[in-house]
């Protein structure tokens, strides 16, 4: 129900719609320069003359050249109504109008600049506020990311034990100065006590294992429970990854409270809990949400951004760049991520601001130094071994795996989320989180690769086996016995440790794949990047070790013979893990450029860009073969957000007439007349309908378009007039014209609503192909567009109608040939000789009292009807 209403909306351009102080709207309509009076001229004359008028209207009001100061001259008696020009919750913004508003504000400031020093300072402040707000955003998101990193590491280790000497240290920090010198004991120190040691007093043995197991599950469950409770009680919007919603918001949608203070606080707090609970989720996506919350909150400090939804979205674009910058320690990758994945409107100015925000955020995080390694990220690889051309084959295979995994994950996760959305099962969010956390904890503990933090796992998988490593993955059999065992690191036969590790990794892979599907979409903050990367890294490492062993045992194959000399190091399994991680992430999110940059910034492996590119591209191709949308688009579609994807191409040949509302079977379009409605009738229309905007027409006889008025603005204006203006009664006349209509002497004072009328609504003719309409909507960011025929308003197309139409076409896209022929036949005939639209009589709903005056209106477009009658549908 709600999503139905999400789309219907109208708008107004109240402040810049007066064209010049001398011209009335009658003149406006006449684009050719011939002044016509609507009250005296016959409709037929106008039909010919006004063909150009919508165009000229656009040029004047949307081109930014309007001398809008005249608005205030004209309406100096009317103070601006508070609240007009703002948006309701779950409504789309009008980019065109917001940009115009900003230009006008800018002009005002510029013209005042020379008046006084104070005004000059204000203009400077205004000019700098963009940089200030992104600086503040960068500072805040860097600091918050540092907090989250430190707290999540600590809480994660709390599941295993506690640092007795200083409670606030995690395992590694606790053993900072310990003197355990051997490799076997490298992770142990007397200060760090596991729970079994604390409670039972013994560190080894089955009893302590069970005790540790129990405590692990206990902590995981309590963290998950706390997280979901906090989310449910304080800020339900804090759940999920947030990227689909941010994408939608950036494309021009209002979700009130989604980027608010409480969401920020609860998301920060519960993100730590969710990560620490060991669920198969990451903190990267939610960090983007956190950064966007910071951006939104700081934009309230600056009127330039707080009062303009389009400008605010520029800050949010920069903020999301800062978010990725701190999430991955990849500032450039963050900027590219914002450009490729999140942003809708991304001018160069925003690019520079994103760059700066990412820089500031990365700087702050680096100075907090959360990992204690003086790097921004946990997994920084330090090997620079070369790779060989034949290795591209396994890399591409990893890409195929990534694409398959991505397609499978999206299908499965969407199916599961749809189930959650539509069935009763979705009524128990807390229970679901507890259940998933319990299963995760119970299964994860026995396997060392799933027990540890996912980031640590990725780090271990990325790291190459050097002599300094002591992990199980690196227990190769030494081929030379005795003293020289570890001196060189050529490819070696795998030892029992590696085989055991392979088994555990396979189990971990299956476990991660299953759990991630059920975890993404839980009602806790949950990101997707880290689990996807972990799956890819596990698969990559397995493939890497397999290739390595292959090269060892079959070094006489021509492939290996050419490149791998016996005893030389030629396969780096860590590199395979890296490539696999990138491929899986690419398969899920369908990012390309930004992903490669993120991975190479993450790992510092500049040499490995070509393998990464090959794998990511393959994974995108394979993934796209199974379904074109990435996980975020899929979630947007699942939730029915009004997001018009700029990447998709519109290839059908439908016309505007077929998409517009009202449809043939619908009741006619609700319109308002410009000067003969009373307040009561207007309220009646608003109460009876649920439309978010109403076209305003000249009169019942001539149904030519005057403008467009928003439901929200009308209600606010009427309420405001009731409070502030004397003499407004239920039977007061409402007029949208410049001058009050002539009224009988005893009638109450009329109500002028011209200030809320948008006199330059976008219009298209009914024969405009939909590809053009879709393009207009995408590129200009419209909310709605009126459909006219000979200047007469026939219907309206909203963003929702377009999305519904796209969805319809997607479902009927199989029988491509039939509709194509059908449209092809009629397509060139945009002159109106084929296809029969209903005569406007049935489209336009006039208020009850006007219904009797229909005959006059019919005559006026006799010509049109005649023309259209030529062919039948």
């Amino acid at each position: 129900m709600e999503s139905e209403q999400l789309y219907n909306r109208g708008y107004c351009r109240n402040s810049y719609n007066s064209i010049a102080s001398a011209s009335s709207d009658e003149e406006l309509l006449d684009g050719a320069g011939v002044i016509m009076d609507f009250h005296t001229t016959e409709d037929d004359n106008l039909l010919d003359g006004d063909a150009a008028s919508p165009g000229s209207n656009y040029a004047m009001s949307n081109g930014g050249g309007v001398a809008s100061s005249s608005t205030h001259l004209l309406d100096f008696l009317e103070e601006p109504i508070p609240g007009v020009g703002t948006y309701d919750d779950f409504h789309t913004i009008d980019w065109v109008r917001e940009k115009c508003k900003d230009r006008e504000r800018h002009r005002k400031i510029n013209s005042k600049k020379k008046e006084s020093a104070w005004e000059f300072t204000k203009s400077l402040y205004d000019a700098w506020s963009g940089w200030l707000v992104v600086t503040l955003t960068g500072l805040a998101s860097g600091a918050l990311a540092g907090l989250i990193d430190i707290a999540a590491d600590w809480m994660n280790d709390l599941k295993e034990g506690v640092c007795l000497s200083a409670m606030w240290f995690n395992h590694e920090q606790c053993c900072w100065t310990s003197n355990e010198t051997t490799f076997a004991e490298r992770d142990k120190c007397p200060q760090w006590k596991s729970w079994a040691e604390l409670i039972l007093g013994q560190a080894e043995g089955p009893g302590s294992y069970i005790m540790n197991y129990f405590m692990y599950i206990y902590w995981a469950l309590s963290f998950a429970f706390l997280a979901v409770c906090l989310v449910k009680v304080f800020a339900p919007y804090a759940c999920g990854s947030g990227i689909p919603e941010i994408k939608t918001i950036l494309s021009g949608f209002i979700i009130r409270g989604y980027l608010g203070k409480w969401t920020l606080m609860i998301k920060t707090i519960t993100l730590v809990l969710a990560v620490a609970s060991g669920l198969s989720l990451g903190k990267e996506g939610p960090l983007v949400h956190v950064a966007c919350c910071c951006g939104n909150i700081f934009s309230y400090l600056f009127p330039k951004y707080s009062k303009n939804e389009a400008k605010k979205r520029e800050v949010l674009s920069a903020a999301s760049a800062a978010g990725v910058s701190v999430a991955f320690g990849a500032p450039i990758g963050g900027v590219l991520f914002s450009l490729e994945e999140v942003s809708y409107y991304f001018p160069l100015k925003t690019l520079w601001r994103s760059f700066f925000a990412a820089l500031v955020a990365a700087f702050v995080l680096r100075s907090i130094n959360p990992f204690g390694n003086s790097r921004l990220v946990l997994f920084y690889v330090e090997y620079h071994t070369p790779w060989y051309l034949f290795e591209l084959i396994p890399f591409i295979l990893l890409g195929v795996f990534g694409g398959l995994w991505g397609a499978f994950f999206i299908r499965a996760n969407i199916a599961w989320c749809r189930r959650r959305k539509s069935t009763r099962f979705g009524k128990y969010p807390v229970l679901e989180v507890i259940l998933v956390a319990a299963i995760t904890a119970v299964v994860a503990f026995p396997n060392p690769y799933t027990r540890q933090n996912t980031s640590e796992l990725i780090k271990e998988l990325f790291t190459d086996c050097g002599p300094l490593e002591s992990s199980q993955l690196c227990q190769y059999r030494s081929q030379m016995n005795g003293s020289k065992a570890f001196t060189e690191t050529p490819n070696r036969p795998a030892g029992p440790g590696v085989y055991a590790a392979m088994w555990q990794l396979c189990l971990a892979l299956i476990f991660k794949i299953i759990m991630t599907i059920f975890t993404f979409g839980l009602k806790v903050p949950s990101g997707l990047f880290i689990p996807s990367m972990a799956i890819g890294a596990i698969a990559g490492r397995i493939v890497g070790i397999a290739v390595e062993q292959l090269a060892y045992y079959h070094h006489d194959w021509f492939l290996f013979k050419e490149w791998c000399e016996v005893g030389a190091d030629c396969i780096t399994p860590g590199l395979y893990a890296m490539v696999g991680a990138a491929a899986c992430l690419g398969g899920v999110t369908r990012m390309t450029v930004s992903l490669v940059v993120i991975v190479f910034e993450l790992t510092g492996g500049l040499e490995y860009i070509v393998p990464l590119m090959a794998a990511v591209m393959t994974s995108k191709w394979v993934g796209d073969a199974f379904g074109r949308e990435g996980i975020y688009e899929a979630h947007i579609r699942l939730n029915g957000y009004p997001f018009l994807d700029a990447k998709e191409e519109f290839t059908h040949t439908t016309l505007a007439r077929e998409v517009m509302r009202p449809r043939r079977s619908d009741p006619p379009l609700a319109v308002l007349t410009q000067d003969d409605l009373t307040v009561e009738e207007l309220q009646g229309i608003i109460n009876e309908t649920s439309y978010n905007g109403f076209p305003v027409i000249v009169s019942k006889e001539s149904q030519r378009l005057v403008g467009f008025a928003l439901r929200r603005d009308i209600t606010i204006a009427i309420e405001n007039a009731r409070r502030k203006q004397e003499g407004i009664m239920l039977n007061s006349r409402v007029y949208f014209t410049q001058h009050a209509p002539t009224l009988p002497a005893d009638s109450p004072r009329p109500l002028k609503l011209r200030s809320i009328l948008d006199m330059s609504p976008f219009t298209v003719t009914d024969h405009t192909p939909m590809e053009i309409v879709v393009d207009i909507f995408r590129k200009l960011g419209l909310r709605q567009c009126l459909v006219t025929h000979n200047g007469i308003v026939l219907g309206i197309i909203t963003k929702k109608n377009i999305l519904e139409h796209l969805e319809e076409l997607k479902q009927h896209s199989e029988p491509l040939a039939a509709p194509w022929y059908y449209h092809k036949k009629r397509y060139p005939s945009s002159h109106g000789s084929n296809g029969k639209p209903r005569s406007r009589v049935h489209h336009v709903q006039l208020v009850r009292s006007f219904q009797d005056g229909r005959a006059g209106g019919d005559d006026s477009d006799e010509e049109a009807v005649h023309l259209l009658d030529g062919s039948n549908l």
Binding site: M1, G83, F183, V233, C239, Y300, S470, R723
Partner: protein, 190 residues
């Protein structure tokens, strides 16, 4: 808007304070270390050495002691060792964890108050009628109620206490609305 601005300035201040705190977490002498990992060499096991030395002294010769090999082998042994200088700020970590836990604690207390104590208190004080009344606040359904809200927002309210109460009421209604759309109707974020 004055109130709103002040809230944001407080937030700004807290962020700045946090930043200062992280910087001021003065360089404790414990907070630097040089960690040398030396792989197995001949019959010597792999060893890890940690010393509290400055960056310029962070090399095998200064850190590895006692040196497990004698004179002529030192160079060969040290070549294999890898030394890394690391620093942390224990003050930041301590401050962060304490701050995090205190915020979490406050939130938990407030949550317990909101979900358990307040309904109980209300029931005891007002009886059932009040509860029911406050629940069926359906004003949002009417088209003109919204306009009412928008316009009344611009009017000034008499005193601070009212303001706080009003803000709290509004916040609650918002959360209620969010909860409905996320958990009941599954319109967003499912």
């Amino acid at each position: 808007t004055v109130k709103m601005k002040s809230v944001f300035f407080i937030e700004l201040l807290s962020v700045v304070c946090f930043l200062l705190l992280t910087q001021a977490g003065a360089k404790n002498s414990e907070d630097i270390r040089c960690k040398c990992i030396c792989p197995p060499y001949r019959d010597i096991e792999g060893q890890i050495y940690k010393q509290n030395v400055s960056l310029k002294d962070c090399n095998c010769l200064h850190v590895v002691e006692p040196m497990p090999v004698d004179g002529k082998d030192v160079e060969a042994y040290c070549l294999r060792c890898e030394c890394k200088y690391e620093e942390r700020s224990s003050g930041t970590i301590k401050g962060t964890i304490i701050m995090y836990l205190s915020i979490l604690g406050l939130l938990l207390l407030y949550m317990v108050y909101l979900t358990l104590l307040e309904p109980m208190l209300k029931r005891r004080l007002f009886g059932h009628s009040q509860l029911i009344q406050s629940d069926d606040d359906v004003g949002d359904q009417q088209p003109f109620a919204n306009a009412h809200n928008v316009l009344s927002r611009s009017h000034s309210r008499p005193n601070m206490l009212n303001k706080v109460e009003h803000a709290q009421q509004r916040w609650r209604r918002q959360v209620q609305e969010q909860r409905k759309s996320v958990f009941d109707r599954h319109v967003v974020l499912s």
